[in-house]
Amino acid sequence: MSLLSTLARLEAIRSGRAEPLATVRHRHLSDRPMVVVPLAAAGEAGAPLAVLLGTDRAAPRLHLVPQPLNRTQRFDFLARFAAELLPYLESFGAEVEQIEASEKDPETGEKTQVFRELCADAPQLIVPNPGSIRHLALLGRSTRFRRTAEDADPGPYPAPTRVPLLGRWLTHLTERSQVPGSSLLLPMTGLLARHWATGQSHLEDQHLAAQLAWHSPPPGLTGAEAAELAETERDAHGQLTHPPAGPATDPRFDELVLAGAITRHDAALVALQHLTTAGQPAAGLTTADRPAERQRAELLVKLASEQLHAALESVLLPTWRDVWHGLDLLRTLPPAAHLAERWESDRWSYTGHRDRLAAGEPPQPKQDDAVTAARKLAQREREQVRVDVQEALDDPLVMAERRLAGEAFTGVVTEVTPAYDTSGRSPKPRPLVTVRTEDRPHADPGREAHRANGLAAQKAVIVGADPAEGTITVQVTSGMGRKKEPEPGSLPEPGDRITFTLFELTPRQSAPLPDPDDTPWTHGGPPGSADHSPTAAEEWE
């Protein structure tokens, strides 16, 4: 955490409300995001319990596993989850634009012009917190290798047809979410924490309701007080008035509400099945009573199921509202200038996955081979640098952090002195620009500096600094055109406010082609020797 964000937290403690950490929105927000609030069954990794999801905040859809240990019910749940999610994901695949690129023929080395499809937009999932992402990743891992009835060898427990596909999408989205600056799948706690500081620690910010409490504390309460209520307040039945945002449920909810509801549902189901299979009517009843008895049993199952739904809905809805509330808050910020560029990378990522599915490639391996792992790591490092630079350019508050760190300086131009490099055949402009600044960058003479937010990229070299005067002088070396005199407007003028950074502003970046993990294997070599074996033996028990 930088000192500037610490300062913002201190201010939040004093004001009792969240304080800004950004002046613009640094993540792309879709016009039609899908909010997904997943719950996991306690005690078993990746066992789903329920999910509340949808693109319409007024109409969330709830799906649940009535008995989390029951494999068939789990498959049913996953099939319904897939039926809800996949059409949304796939709906962005149809509208494409053609992007021109050149590709090198691997044999002749000749460059040829190619057109590649790029989807015009991409889906966006918003979940409550990073834990939800980990849970979705586990769901992806546990489903993408499943065999279905359509496979040649379906195994003893074939999954519903679209379940493996759900797994592959979840795997792709959760992997992509590890790339800095990506926006296909975002956790709300992280989004809020990126843009506002609360007066509590990062750890406490993981609790979505507690973090939001700092944004709109009820009248008369400070953010800290409201957050503590969100964390701990319980009703007369011992239930949290603001349930955790998942994926784990509150143990007291499991104990006092959920366990009973599951047991009742199980019992009702058993009773009904018993009626269906048993030859004899229950004691004291004649065969004539059978239909009535059956109806009664069906009714009991329905009631038990409704109770279970109500119980889970009651703990999911507050989080659902919180996520949408968070989106409202984020939408009050103007979008950052570089969002479109980064979202295009997300679109490439989405398009790449769409293409891999269409090409009939196998599911993502359990473990990346060494080459893929190294490429992913390199990609993440590259993207981190890119995001850091872009955020600094887009937002003076982020640039302030770099200035505080001595990596940039901002000031007013006091003097521009023409100068020339006459070493070559024709003289080149090398004017000196002096800036008065209170910043104290690590500006040793000879160090390269970059003009931020100029019309074109412009480099300079530090030639001197006068700490007593508070001035720094640089010699501009590029971005002035090809003539002897600088192009009009290409140089700052005295009185202009200007920022130079000591870090590069254009991290080496090729054309916006898909990143390695989004390159179809047909384009990027064999998928390696990783283990793709479908795991018939890997059964849930």
Binding site: M1, L3, L4, T6, L7, A8, R9, L10, E11, I13, R14, P20, T23, A41, A42, G43, E44, A45, P68, L138, R141, G199, Q200, S201, H202, L203, E204, A224, E228, E231, T232, A248, T249, D250, P251, R252, D254, E255, L258, A259, K366, Q367, D395, P396, L397, M399, A400, R403, L404, G406, E438, R440, P467, G470, T535, A537, E538, E539, W540, E541
Partner: protein
């Protein structure tokens, strides 16, 4: 744990009992001991734990109960997994252990599973475990599995009883085996959970080291005819000494089948030792307490506490704490200590990182005052290493940061 303080054990135990009041002593389990390592700097916790105070009850009385709990589903799942490992003569448990430890096939040397008197009192069970352990260690060729043995560890002069899931003994050495219900997925497990398991296992290893040392000491004593208790750490290779690598048995991927991961716990062991050493110095902590301090809840006949909570809060307050946000998930008093940190305007509420950043500044008010201080010379170089000694670096940097923040937000500098 060392013998040196045994002489004063009685008065110490008495004073700790006074602190505890009428409540029965809460014996520390491995989880609680392991959690100590999570916040080693906290004396409040060290003292309360040493005295065996029920921190959860205290937190409840103070109005900020600990939110800890375990889902019945998680407990059930854990039990089912452990049961499956142990049915059919530990077949499922032994299969992966065999691979890891080079256990023999049944036909060669049969695995001994001694009866450890599970229905008896902890002290009896601990005695029985000690005997079984000594027997097993005496025969290097034998393979022995101690199922839920009971170990004794002296903490601040009082015995704590600890129950690992299993200990395997062979070749005169033993290995702690912990059964966990989090999975090892594609060869790796959640690092946070492995870390917690390692800290817990370290406590068992420590107890086994103590047992081995005592056993050796007894023998030496018998032979030499005088009691000598060597330091448990000086002689690591006593018979029955534990390996410093423990085995976690976890479900493999999404199945109920077990797989084994070996975890080196040397670092955790060192931390736990340090923390326990701090607890054995509780007499120093006790020395600085006001006379008559007690954490007695004064329960009435129905068991409800009658001690005024302000009084109790004062007693708790009299022991210095070291609040940090992860207390919320590791200590029963977390919410209470947080409220106190907030009340005291301490920058600790934001975490140790912030504390470090702010140098000598310890309160929010001070920090904000420094940030608003226009008199702080803005041209004093806050990043330079060579500044006059009278400039206060944290304050100057804060003022500079505040100016930058105000500029970026288009606010007037305060």
């Amino acid at each position: 744990m060392n013998v040196s303080h045994l002489g004063q054990a009685q008065p110490l135990a008495q004073r700790l009992a006074e602190l505890r009041g009428r409540a029965p002593q809460r014996s520390l389990d491995a989880r609680a001991l392991a959690a100590l390592a999570a916040n080693p700097g906290c004396r409040r916790r060290a003292l309360l734990d040493a005295a065996g105070v029920d921190k959860a009850a205290v937190a409840h009385r103070l109005g900020r109960p600990a939110p800890f709990g375990q889902s019945p589903f998680a407990i059930a799942r854990g039990n089912v997994f452990e049961y499956r490992l142990k049915e059919n003569g530990y077949a499922a448990l032994l299969e992966p252990l065999r691979r890891h430890l080079g256990l023999p096939e049944h036909t060669d040397t049969p695995l001994a599973v001694p009866d450890l008197l599970h229905r008896s009192s902890p002290a009896v069970r601990a005695g029985r475990t000690r005997v079984a352990l000594a027997e097993a260690a005496a025969d290097p060729a034998a393979w022995t599995l101690l199922d839920h043995p009971m170990l004794r560890l002296t903490v601040a002069g009082s015995p704590a009883y600890l129950e690992p899931d299993a200990v395997v003994v062979h070749g005169g050495r033993c290995t702690v085996v912990e059964i966990k219900s989090f999975p090892i997925l594609d060869g790796s497990a959640d690092p946070a959970k492995v870390g917690a398991a390692a800290r817990q296992a370290a406590v068992y290893v420590l107890a086994l080291q103590e047992t081995a040392a005592e056993e050796a000491g007894d023998k030496a004593g018998e032979e030499a005819g005088r009691p000598t208790l060597p330091s448990p750490y000086a002689v690591p290779d006593l018979p029955g000494s534990p390996e410093l690598t423990v085995l976690l048995v976890c479900p493999k991927d999404f199945t109920n089948r077990p797989t084994v991961a070996a975890v080196d716990i040397r670092r955790e062991l060192a931390t736990t030792r340090r923390q326990l050493a701090l607890m054995t110095r509780v007499d120093q902590l006790l020395g600085s307490l006001p006379a008559g301090t007690t954490f007695d809840l004064a329960p009435d006949e129905a068991g409800s506490p009658t001690r005024p909570s302000e009084e109790l809060a004062d007693a708790v307050e009299s022991v210095p704490a070291a609040y940090r946000p992860d207390c919320l998930s590791t200590c029963e008093l977390g919410f209470h200590c947080r409220a106190q940190a907030r009340c005291a305007d301490s920058v600790d509420q934001l975490g140790p990182g912030v504390r470090g950043e702010l140098g000598t500044i310890t309160t929010v008010t001070e920090a904000l005052k420094a940030a608003a201080d226009l008199n702080t010379d803005p041209t004093a170089d806050p990043t330079s290493e060579t500044r006059p000694t009278e400039t206060r670096p944290a304050e100057a940097r804060l003022a500079y940061a505040a100016a930058l923040r105000a500029e970026a937000l288009g606010r007037a500098a305060r």
